[in-house]
């Protein structure tokens, strides 16, 4: 069963916007064939995300914007695990690039953004360093 809410469009719309940006970058750097391919993938991914968000189950609620407290907690834990695995991948990528004597700055930038975001998130959540 499908449910439709305007907030359900938010993530697919963002995917489409970012995908279009990536497609433009591809078109400029690799040629328009590549750009069209990336845009196609972005459109399919956004439509897929939207359709999954309409399913009447936990996954649908988590992908859509109708999650209750348990589903929100599941989503939060999944996001936390995703962030931890991504951080690990960044560290491994940095090590591999260092061993290859290749540029490490993209991994350093991602790690710096993650570190600053974590500290900012603690501040936003009003976590005080004082006992």
């Amino acid at each position: 069963m499908m449910r439709l809410s305007s907030s359900r469009l938010r993530v697919p719309a963002l995917m489409l916007i970012l995908g279009t940006g990536l497609a433009l970058a591809e078109a400029v750097g690799q040629g328009w064939h590549s750009g069209i391919l990336v845009e196609g993938v972005a459109v399919v991914a956004a439509i897929g995300y939207f359709l999954i968000g309409g399913m009447n189950n936990d996954v649908g609620a988590i992908y859509g914007s109708s999650a209750d407290e348990r589903q929100q907690m599941v989503r939060l834990r999944a996001q936390a695990l995703t962030a931890e695995v991504t951080a690990l991948a960044v560290v491994i990528g940095y090590m591999v690039q260092t061993a290859r004597q290749a540029p490490t700055w993209p991994f350093a930038v991602i790690a710096a953004v993650a570190a600053v975001t974590f500290v900012a998130a603690l501040a936003i959540q009003r976590v005080s360093p004082r006992p």
Binding site: N57, D58, A61, D68, E69, R70, Q71
Partner: protein, 56 residues
């Protein structure tokens, strides 16, 4: 009363009602109060702390 009707009354999904029934999810305090109020019992009667419940 069906799980779907209870879920609608509590403002949560049917899957969450099932998870609470099976002891796989501990509800938040506000939801616990809503459930207790719905069944017209106290929270401690509804959720016996002696029971072993594993939160997921």
């Amino acid at each position: 009363m069906s799980q779907a009707e209870l879920a609608a009354a509590l403002g949560v999904s049917r899957q969450t009602v099932i998870s609470i029934e099976n002891g796989r999810y501990l509800p938040s305090l506000p939801l616990a109060f809503r459930i207790a109020r719905f069944f017209n019992v106290t929270v401690d009667k509804m959720f016996n702390p002696e029971d072993e419940v594993t939160e997921t």
